[in-house]
Structure formats: structure tokens, C-alpha cells
């Protein structure tokens, strides 16, 4: 699954501007993860058309990059996230972003943006989902 990370100003309207540009081109945002700190903000989005999304972001001259999400299915209990993040840490894999992707069969689907997706899938083992699973 591809996602786009976009850096935005931390002010009212910056997310709306981005979403409107995608919406007017009939691109559906299927997932979002956004956080701000001090005067910076960043948003990770998944959409139904990654290539068209990249073209819109280029046209907006937005500071962005395309990334691959490594999806994991986590049980809804304490330490579930710790176990997944711990498996990545043990392989010295840095988590660049965390994107919630919904709930399926009582499990929370989390997308991790990492430096080395293949190694992350290997580290996550039975927790990892393939694109076919999604």
C-alpha cells in the first residue's frame, strides 16, 4: 500500500486546502494520520489513486514524498502495539510514521512507514499483512 506524507503549516485551513484539491479531482482519501508539533505539521494519507494523488501534490507544490506502508494486524489489548514496535526496534528499524487503517475482525490494522519495508515485514512476522490481505 502506498501512502503520501505531506508537510503542512500548523494553521487552520491547511488540511482543508489539501483535501479540497484531492476531492475536486475525485480522489478518495481512505485513511489519514496527522500530527503537529510547534509550528510544523505532517499528514500521511492513503487514497484510492496513488499516482493521481502524487500529481495533485506536485501541482500544489506541496512538500511531500510517497512511501510504502507495511500493514500489521494488532489485537485489541495492552502491549499489542508494544510487541509490534518492539519487533521493529529489535531489527533497528526506525518507524517514520504510523497510519491507522481501520479495524478488521476485531484487530486494529496499523500501517508503519519504515526505511526498509521488506525487513519490517520479516520482523513483524505473523503480524504482517500483505496487500492481498487488505
Amino acid at each position: 500500500v502506498r501512502a503520501h506524507i505531506v508537510w503542512l503549516e500548523d494553521r487552520a485551513g491547511s488540511l482543508a486546502h489539501l483535501c479540497e484539491a484531492l476531492g475536486t479531482r475525485d480522489i478518495n482519501i481512505s485513511g489519514i494520520s496527522a500530527t503537529t508539533w510547534e509550528d510544523r505539521g505532517a499528514v500521511a494519507i492513503t487514497t484510492d489513486d496513488a499516482d493521481a494523488t502524487a500529481a495533485v501534490l506536485d501541482a500544489l507544490a506541496a512538500d511531500h514524498r510517497a512511501v510504502e506502508l507495511v500493514a500489521a494486524a494488532l489485537e485489541d489489548r495492552p502491549r499489542a502495539l508494544a510487541e509490534a514496535a518492539g519487533r521493529l526496534a529489535e531489527r533497528d528499524i526506525n518507524i517514520r510514521a504510523v497510519v491507522p487503517m481501520g479495524v478488521r475482525d476485531g484487530r486494529r490494522i496499523i500501517g508503519f512507514v519504515v526505511d526498509v519495508p521488506a525487513a519490517a515485514r520479516d520482523a513483524l512476522g505473523d503480524l504482517a499483512l500483505t496487500d492481498a490481505d487488505l
Binding site: 476531492g23 475536486t24 480522489i27 482519501i29 481512505s30 503537529t36 514496535a85 518507524i95 491507522p100
Partner: protein
Amino acid sequence: VRAFIVELENRPGSLAELSEALGERGVNIVGVAGMTWNDRGAVGIITNNDATARKFLEDREGDYREVELVAAGLEDRPGSLALASRRLADRGVNILAAMTTSMLGSKVTIAFAVDDAAAAREALGELTNLGGASI
């Protein structure tokens, strides 16, 4: 519903350490969204035990802030997030964090952490009706 936005170092293990510490205290993280830039990062978490999470974060070295969440139930179609975020922007409400929390049928629930929850609820209007979904 409240969330915590926690500043983390951008390095392997920082999310694991935070989530392990909360897990050891029996706190379940029911929602998470995180992002990094340069050498820093911030993660927004929703828990099932805010009091215990708050106590841990107060005692921990590192910054965090506690924010109120306002949830919106959006149709799973192009333009729906634009509609919600534009309503917030038009009221001057700043979005501090946002995360997808559930997908139920054709509805997607988005939790917004904002700087003015009352104004956000008013701006979102009928979108705050989650139609049976929850954060």
C-alpha cells in the same frame, strides 16, 4: 474522548519504549497516529485509561500535551474529508492531529484533535453523528 500527543525522538525503539511502558501499566492503546520529521516525532494516542496514561506521561521525561477529540462520521467518498476540514477551517479551528478510527459500512470515522472542541462540534454539525460507530 481525549488523546495525548507525545513528542518522541526519531530513532528505532522510541515508539516501542512508549508503548511498552504503557502496556506494562495495563493501558491499552486503542488509537495511534504518528509522524516524524528531522530528529523529532510526535505520536497521537488514544487509550482506554487516560488517568494512568497521564500519570505516566507526567512522570516521564519529554513533552506531551493532552487534547480533546471531536469525531466526525464521513461518507467514504471523494470530498468528504474536505467538507469536514473546511467547516473547521471556516470557524478558525486548528487541527492538531487527526486519525482514522473506524470504518463501518460506507462511513469512516475520523477523530480530530483541535484547539477548540466546542467550536469544532458546532462547525461539524450533523457530521458528529457517528451512526453507531465509535472512536
